[in-house]
């Protein structure tokens, strides 16, 4: 016991949290990410890697099922932290401190492990009806289907999301894959509950007649784009640039003076904008043209910057530059053009509707980049479904 207790304490000092984001709770997700970064913890991307599940917000039943699946897949020592949508930074920090103590407590972890159902091998829950011959361990082997060249090939149905790093909260895309080619994609919003459309708040508040300055809205817009840019860079496999985007996002939200943000954002945008390697890796796929814009009634950056993934990234960067220049604007906010389009029309619905057509035929990694380059904000759908009039309740 002595040695494993010491090792557990050593490991618990720097856990690798897996963050499960809940739609309608973006604010607490940002606070949690900032706290994790402040502690120098490195987020994990899979249950095998993590011992700490950090759930940001109150998931609905469907999303909770997905989170449970991930929790089930985590080997002990493990800890779960649930922070509700209204949690302040101090509460998050306190919850994380408790989790660290729990992770280091080997005796308690052993007891907890003893109460887990003893299972040598996992079996899929009863969602799959028939268990027939040729289905080892109760799960069917891959079926076959025609591919685009008319060959009959094995098909895998692979879900992406909702518990995934650099992924829109509450989105699930079930891909039909042949090899690493997406033959088809079904998109679903998981965990519609209650919540706030965090990125749209200033515009919604202004519509209700409250006084909001254009500068505050510009801050929110810049932060929203930086959040999207950071995820896109994370998916593109450039973690250092993604971390930089995250820090800038937090600086902007924290109300840092315009002069300081402008300088550091300028350096960042130049680095990203000038990277020919990045442009080479993200161009010529996920193209949105006028026909797609009309068909799915797209608005916002995706419609303003037609073209491929690279064009949308450039669009975000340009709009962020303009927004950061305007953070000190004291005039009253007019209009309803939020980070993803008119806030009253839930523009993310169009982005989500456009996904299946855009993903079909893409390579797996290209598909993830396309999703990240649109970055639909599920909060808009959640908040719109609940209460359009009380964004800050």
């Amino acid at each position: 016991m002595g040695l494993s207790a010491r090792l557990a304490r050593c490991a618990a000092g720097r856990p690798r949290p897996l963050i499960a984001a809940v739609p309608g709770a973006t604010g607490v997700r940002l606070a949690a990410e900032a706290e994790v970064r402040r502690r120098g913890w490195r987020p994990a991307s899979s249950p095998g890697e993590t011992g700490l599940l950090l759930i940001c917000g109150e998931p609905g039943a469907a999303l909770d099922e997905a989170i449970e699946t991930v929790w089930w897949a985590m080997p002990g020592p493990r800890a779960q932290v649930r922070v509700d949508a209204a949690a302040a930074s101090a509460e998050i920090a306190e919850a994380l401190d408790r989790a660290v103590i729990g992770l280091a407590d080997v005796a308690a972890q052993r007891v907890a492990a003893g109460t887990r159902p003893a299972m040598g091998g996992w079996s899929p829950p009863a969602r799959h009806e028939e268990h027939h011959m040729g289905a080892p361990a109760g799960l069917a082997m891959a079926d076959r289907a025609a591919d685009r060249d008319g060959l009959t090939l094995d098909v895998l149905r692979v879900p992406l999301g909702p518990v995934l790093a650099d992924w829109p909260a509450g989105l699930q895309v079930v891909m039909t894959l042949q090899g690493d080619v997406v033959q088809g994609a079904e998109v679903e919003v998981v965990g519609t509950g209650e919540g706030v459309a965090f990125w749209d708040e200033p515009w919604l508040a202004a519509r209700e007649g409250r006084t909001v300055t254009s500068g505050a809205a510009a801050r929110r817009l810049a932060a929203a784009h930086l959040d999207s840019v950071g995820r896109l860079l994370g998916v593109a496999g450039w973690p250092s640039a993604a971390a930089r985007a995250g820090r800038l996002r937090d600086d902007v939200l924290a109300g840092r003076p315009a002069a300081r943000v402008t300088a550091s954002y300028g350096a960042f945008a130049r680095r990203i904008g000038r990277s020919r390697l990045l442009r080479w890796m993200i161009r010529d796929f996920g193209v949105i043209d006028d026909a797609v814009v009309d068909r799915f009634d797209l608005t916002g950056p995706a419609a303003r910057h037609p073209g491929d993934v690279a064009a949308r990234l450039a669009g975000w960067l340009a709009e962020t530059t303009a927004a950061i220049a305007a953070v000190d604007d004291e005039t009253a906010l007019a209009g309803d053009e939020g980070p993803r389009g008119p806030v009253t029309r839930a523009p993310s619905a169009g982005l989500i509707a456009a996904l299946p057509a855009l993903l079909e035929g893409a390579e797996f990694s290209a598909a993830r980049l396309i999703i990240a380059s649109l970055d639909p904000d599920v909060d808009q759908l959640v908040a719109a479904a609940v209460s359009p009039e009380a964004p800050d309740a």
Binding site: A11, S45, V106, G237, M281
Partner: protein, 308 residues
């Protein structure tokens, strides 16, 4: 394999390999902490130890109907391949095994990584891992030929496949000076064989960890340690091939080997924080239509120079 092995190399090799692998992991953690804007990045030095500690105490974990044997073979192949590749690398002027075909041996051991990563991705019976495993094969098709050209070009310059003789042949002029293309291509392939940084697509974040997504506990520890060892060996081989081996003023030969290896290793680790992941569906054409022709010309130049 005629000359006897100096006993000190047998002791030194595992110490250096393990030490440098840890140093690479620690340096990587520090660079990451700097990138994340942490006020005390030096505290990240122990992160690899903490992760190793967790790997030892974590509950065992098995995916649905995995092929445990294949997964295990894949995982363990990484450090084994790295060690076997390292035995021909001269520490100073003394390798553990002075093979006349050391360059070919290194090449053969490095190719084992293809199998290792694919087996790991396949064996766990997980879709993300499967895609990651196949990504490495595609990557192999892109890097292996330029890599072999780089090895052969250095061997051609020395007229020998023995790494100690290749190093000795650079008495007056390091090969990096008159084979710069081969050196750059070699560094690229070093990143690729350790699926590190810009060539890390097989274990990339868009697949939540790709080929390694389901690994935990000792499997994860051995896999990651093996990967760092590969990175170390890849960096160490660049020294006799292009950087004059143990040659240098004042200090003993083994120190120079170590210093040069550290420099190459640091550059490789740093590349991860500077560059983004290359996708092979984009990169394949460049590899075949630019890297291979460039290496052909480089080899031709070297061949003409060494003509009697």
């Amino acid at each position: 394999m005629r000359e006897a092995t100096a006993v000190w190399t047998v002791v030194a090799l595992p110490i250096l390999l393990a030490g440098l692998a840890f140093a690479a992991a620690a340096f990587n953690s520090v660079l990451r902490a700097v990138g994340a804007g942490h006020p005390e990045p030096a505290r990240a030095l122990t992160d690899p130890l903490r992760e190793a500690a967790r790997s030892l105490i974590v509950q065992r974990r098995g995916t649905l109907a995995p092929d445990r044997l294949l997964t295990r073979i894949g995982v363990i192949s990484l450090p084994v391949a790295a060690l076997l590749a390292a035995v021909v690398v001269p520490i100073g002027t003394e390798p553990v095994a002075r093979l006349r075909i050391g360059v070919v041996w290194f090449n053969a051991m490095e190719v084992a990584v293809w199998g290792a990563v694919w087996l790991t991705g396949w064996g766990v019976n997980s879709a993300y891992a499967l895609i990651g495993g196949y990504r490495f094969i595609a990557q192999g098709l892109a890097y292996e030929l330029p890599h072999m050209f780089a090895l052969i070009t250095a061997a051609l310059g020395a007229g020998s496949l023995d790494l100690t003789k290749v190093a000795a042949a650079q008495d007056g002029l390091w090969f990096v000076v008159w084979m710069p293309v081969a050196f750059v291509v070699y560094l690229f392939s070093a990143l690729a064989m350790a699926f590190w940084g810009p060539l890390g697509h097989p274990v990339a974040g868009d697949l939540a960890g790709g080929a390694a997504v389901e690994l935990s506990g000792p499997d994860r520890l051995v896999f990651l340690a093996g990967r760092y060892m590969l990175l170390v060996v890849a960096a160490a081989v660049a020294v006799p091939l292009f950087l004059g081996g143990g040659a240098g003023p004042l200090l003993p030969a083994w120190t120079w080997s170590l210093v040069k290896t550290c420099a190459v290793l640091a550059a490789l680790v740093w590349a991860r924080h500077r560059l983004l992941v290359l996708r092979m569906d984009r990169f394949m054409e460049l590899s075949w239509m630019v890297l291979i022709p460039a290496m052909l010309l480089q080899a031709l130049v070297v061949a003409i120079v060494v003509l009697p």
